[in-house]
Subunit: 259 residues, 2 copies
């Protein structure tokens, strides 16, 4: 049985204000919660008895067996599943030496929770361990974002910090940014370390951040010069840019399709 | 003044049933509607007088000047803008000869309206003129999809048809498909014509369609063999695949970033 106050607490985590106060966040769904439990400290787990019975050792501050009705009341999903978890937000330390040794993603004001989730999933796919966000970027612990990461949030460290200061500090590192007037990404030399900055959905990269970009990149449309959409969605542009960076580092093995 | 029956009619177009009955669809927003008017037959335009005054010649079956209150009642958006348009669904003819001469995208059951919109926007960006969908693909005229295309729906022809029959008919054309067990896309020969098939978000490409795929492609994660997300979102995978096809056809011009 789930108390009214617990239901209220869980639902309050939809709001950033309460996430900040409690330093907690929400994840829902059988697969997502199972994937996340090994990586985050679980404060509260509300689940059907049948789900609990299928798990091994469950480490959770509080474990509450609930019925469909309880879960429906607490859930933020249209189609609630068998389990809702409240996790502690992790406290990562930004390691500038680590940043210098690989590729990192930087969000300068990405606003849409779905885009943020997709970017985290992309970072995970392409082995990018750090995502550094301006303070006005959407909160990574927004439940919609957490769901959209499909669990990738467990493997990518996300930081919020003032970007101009950080970029000034890392000024010996290549800093790439996506701009409509940038250079053709397919032709640029792309390094194995550096920062890739993605801008806000409407406004792009802000001026104070743009000043630190050492290489402006552009994804050319096809054929060049034709009338087309004005830009690509930021998550889609991130996908293409990350793919192109990793393609250059991908060792060939010479297979091919024969019909 | 907008009548109750007009409001009801506009709002009914959120449902596929009524879109099919009327062969109409909805678009909202100052920029989107303006971009779409030259391309589609406009049956009904509901707009603020101030918006109407700013336009040149407006071809619309019926033009209704409305106030904020009317538009709010008719709108499906959280933040209604100044104009709502009802357009006729276009009747395109599937031209198999055109398909043979370029790249086309194929959706085998993509379900999410947002993904469909992003895929249309990508097709437009990468000069792909035809998107062919299985009957169980999400409806391109869903208002959420129309909005997500950001107007690209005007430049990409979308068809619904049984895929196995069509693919059997086009069996001299290369047919590419995204599979987790496919070949490394960065190493495959990719042709300048052919079909690129993207599968359903959960189930991937169906068996009857998979039978017609001549080249299974895979986007490798990085570094190879590490634990990561199980797959990429279908819109993001479409982005990477289209980018890679077009990169091969992109004439180099030898610019580069110097810091």
């Amino acid at each position: 049985m789930l108390s009214k106050s617990k239901i209220k607490y869980i639902r309050s985590l939809a709001m950033k204000k309460f996430r900040n106060q409690t330093r907690c966040f929400l994840a829902e769904g059988n697969k997502l919660v199972k994937d996340m439990i090994p990586y985050f400290e679980c404060e509260l787990l509300v689940a059907k008895s049948s789900w609990i019975a299928q798990q091994g050792d469950l480490r959770a501050g509080e474990l509450i067996a609930a019925d469909d009705n309880d879960i429906e009341k607490a859930s933020l999903l249209k189609t609630p599943q068998d389990v809702i978890a409240v996790f502690k937000q992790p406290d990562y330390l930004l390691d500038k030496e680590e940043l210098k040794q690989g590729l990192s993603l930087v969000s300068d004001g990405v606003q849409d929770p779905g885009n943020m989730g997709t970017i985290v999933r992309l970072a995970d796919w392409f082995g990018i361990k750090n995502l550094i966000c301006s303070p006005d970027t959407a909160d990574i612990f927004n439940p919609k974002t957490v769901q959209a990461t499909m669990g990738a949030i467990a493997r990518v460290k996300v930081f919020y910090t003032e970007l101009p200061e950080l970029l000034a500090d890392l000024n010996d590192l290549p800093v790439y940014g996506a701009f409509l007037e940038g250079k053709n990404i397919y032709e640029e030399a792309l390094s194995a370390n550096g920062l890739i900055v993605m801008g806000n959905e409407g406004k792009g990269i802000s001026r104070p951040v743009a000043r630190h970009i050492s290489c402006k990149l552009h994804i050319p449309n096809y054929p060049a010069g034709t009338e087309t959409s004005e830009s690509l969605n930021v998550a889609v542009a991130t996908a293409i840019i990350c793919s192109e960076f990793r393609r250059r580092q991908n060792p060939p093995n010479g297979s091919s399709c024969v019909r």
